[in-house]
Symmetry: C2
Subunit: 258 residues, 2 copies
């Protein structure tokens, strides 16, 4: 078998998320089926992480182990897969790697972006691709909330349960480091929130954005948000931003990845 690492982009709107499930219509099922048609045997792929239904990717990464019998160049794999996939999923790059490289476990960090549109009316071409917030809020308070998140924290109040957590969790289980959380203003009422971290738990970015929005609306102070982050006994946040504004922007690997 030869391991190959793919980078792909997708519009998440037509899919029920990354993770394979009964009934299909997921990104994993769609890509595995296309690969299976090429190699003529079942293929399993492993992503850097799942994305929820409606979440997009500009550069998701996954690996697959392919039989030596259908060895072709990485460039040809990109072209062949694109020929078999719908236009809403595009392979961007591929490379052969050694068998100890893993799309998820070798990743050092991720960058997510979250799009917010402040226009009174949401452009139909952004429908399903941004969170439309026509009501008033403070961009300064939004930035203040984002600054609270930066650093190494126990983010358990900002993660949804997936049902597979160990009980009790080992020390540091919910700890993540956010290297940067920035707001970039784009033209025409668009805001881009950029999160760079060493890892994000299930729904974490959406919960960070949803809670920061509460601060931006003046319903919670940045100090209260900070207190909530430091108190591991505080209840989980109830605020989760919609999936459609979220983009997996990049998965970061060590430069010496072979």
């Amino acid at each position: 078998m030869a391991r190959i690492l793919f980078t792909c982009a997708y519009d998440g709107a037509p899919y029920r998320g990354w993770q394979s499930q009964r009934g299909g219509q997921t990104l994993q099922d769609t890509i595995e089926e296309a690969m299976g048609r090429i190699v003529r045997e079942p293929v399993r792929i492993a992503a850097s992480g799942r994305t929820d239904a409606g979440v997009h990717a500009l550069a998701q990464v996954f690996h697959a182990d392919l039989p030596e019998s259908c060895r072709m160049s990485a460039e040809n794999w990109v072209a062949a897969l694109n020929a078999h996939l719908p236009g809403s999923i595009r392979m961007l790059a591929a490379r052969y790697v050694s068998a100890d490289v893993h799309a998820r476990f070798s990743a050092e960090g991720k960058v997510y972006e979250y799009l917010i549109c402040r226009d009174a009316v949401l452009n139909p071409f952004l429908c399903g691709r941004a969170w439309h917030i026509p009501h008033a809020f403070s961009e300064e308070l939004l930035e203040a909330a984002l600054r609270v998140y930066v650093g190494t924290h126990d983010f358990r109040r900002f993660a949804a349960r997936r049902g597979n957590e160990p009980e009790p969790p080992p020390p540091g289980f919910y700890e993540r480091t956010i290297h940067a959380a920035e707001l970039q203003r784009e033209g025409q009422g668009m805001l881009r929130l950029r999160f760079h971290g060493n890892g994000f738990m299930y729904r974490m970015v959406r919960m960070l954005v949803g809670t920061a929005h509460q601060v931006a609306r003046g319903r919670m102070t940045p100090e209260a948000l900070s207190a909530m982050l430091l108190d591991i006994h505080a209840p989980k946040t109830r605020f989760c931003a919609p999936a459609e504004g979220l983009y997996l922007h990049r998965v970061i690997y060590p430069t010496q990845l072979k």
Copy 2:
């Protein structure tokens, strides 16, 4: 009855074109149904022109005659319709006009834009929203072809039959004036072709783009294109660019429109 003129934008991908048809799923049917739910009686609307299945609009214009009994401000009409329509159709503006104003017959001109993406791989967020041309062609020849179109010409070789043409056509029936046909280069391999004219026949912009692309590929010289345009006995062009790259950008009305 009070006549109201609406400006709207839509993503044409999920629709079978503007024109109402049996089975619905057209823009006209969807908007008429939403208006009907608001005024509680059937409503008919008239657009500046039809757009084909898959064609988009940034500012389509249509009018409707609404019963005086449900008179509300133009702003409220915009909000009410947006509340009843899917996010792929958005009302942008509305104004009450006199009964002699007609979305189609009062129009003085139109601007269409056509998007071409030259990237090797089409970004999934442009799928259905641009013509993907990864093969080589000359942008200089494309511009030369566009220059041929500018002016007042008999464009019958660049229009599809709709079946309702008079036979024989009266003089000037196929004559249109193209004020400008320009190529704008955008970042990241995107080209925007902009057509401003006093009117466009059925499929005309797509046929202009499709034929200009033949010139750009070196399969026809700009001189041959010019000869084809001047010879009204030449056969119709066989080249029609895909619907998904086309955007109705603006409908132009006299400034004194009341």
